[in-house]
Symmetry: C2
Subunit: 147 residues, 2 copies
DNA sequence: CCAAACTGGTTTCATTTGTAACCATTGAAA
DNA sequence: TTTCAATGGTTACAAATGAAACCAGTTTGG
């Protein structure tokens, strides 16, 4: 093995990125084809569906998005009347976001599709492989968040 | 556990993407700060450094990039005089790309930095965790490529 | 042969993204 | 209080991206 050569094929950052990109691209077909959502929009929908009510900042933290992405996604979902904003009582900078009936319906429709996608993906692995990916990803997440 | 709720925090596509995004973003600082390269440019440099000579199509396959990304990255590296194109003898559509001395020097400078980055990342994991991530990623790669 | 389909690579255009500046409001300090 | 730093969120602008059209040049089938 040449020391001054980098094997892209086995370089972890590259492999991780390519893997995530492929998986995410395939999954995105689901919400893109069904509702024409972008990834930030899907994450916003998903975050609010899961938690009920959140501020834009919280959304950004929960779903690892830059605040401009959140802002744009929220604006678009609002335009579709999938969510509403309610000003905070005490702090007039803050808005509490929540899904409307329509937004919730879309969310409820997406959840089983998302779960099925994940199930199918993991279904191709052996039990040990599933354990391995879960453990490995968790470990890396752990090292990254504390910094 | 509510069946009609999706926990983003434990949803594999999301976790993978976030992880890869974080790692890749951090790694990108290295080639961005040092040479002002974009990711496609870095991958092009890295691919040619590793293999010596490649066509644009091969580059795209090796580094999982859309052909327009390759085209643009190659154009930029050529502008910097980091690579040259040599027309194919038999097929005049094809160009063989190779790094110049300058390009190779940049590559040689980057390789140890890339390796150090990976080493440091993996260094925070236990041996079992390293095995787990390697195995898990390989398994998922396997399921995705055969389709 | 020769048209039609295909392939390597580039370009155009619309969309998405990131950075930085920005506005309004709030909290803390003097 | 007044001022100044910090915070929630939006906007403007430049750069990166993807889809589709495109321009050679090449292969294939009739």
């Amino acid at each position: 093995m040449e020391p001054d050569i980098l094997e892209l094929e086995s370089f972890l950052p590259y492999r991780l990125y390519r893997l995530a990109d492929t998986v995410s691209r395939e999954f995105s077909r689901i919400y893109k084809e069904r509702h024409g959502l972008t990834r930030p929009e899907w994450r916003t929908l998903s975050g609010l569906g899961e938690r009920g009510t959140m501020t834009a900042t919280e959304l950004g933290e929960q779903s690892a998005m830059h605040k401009t992405k959140v802002s744009r996604a929220v604006a678009e979902l609002e335009r579709r009347r999938w969510l509403t904003r309610k000003p905070d009582e005490n702090d007039r900078r803050v808005e509490h976001l929540a899904l409307t009936k329509t937004g919730l319906a879309a969310y409820r429709e997406m959840v089983p599709l998302a779960k099925a996608f994940e199930r199918e993906l993991l279904g191709k692995l052996s039990v040990e492989e599933r354990v391995a990916i879960a453990r490995g990803v968790a470990a890396l997440e752990g090292t990254l968040e504390r910094k």
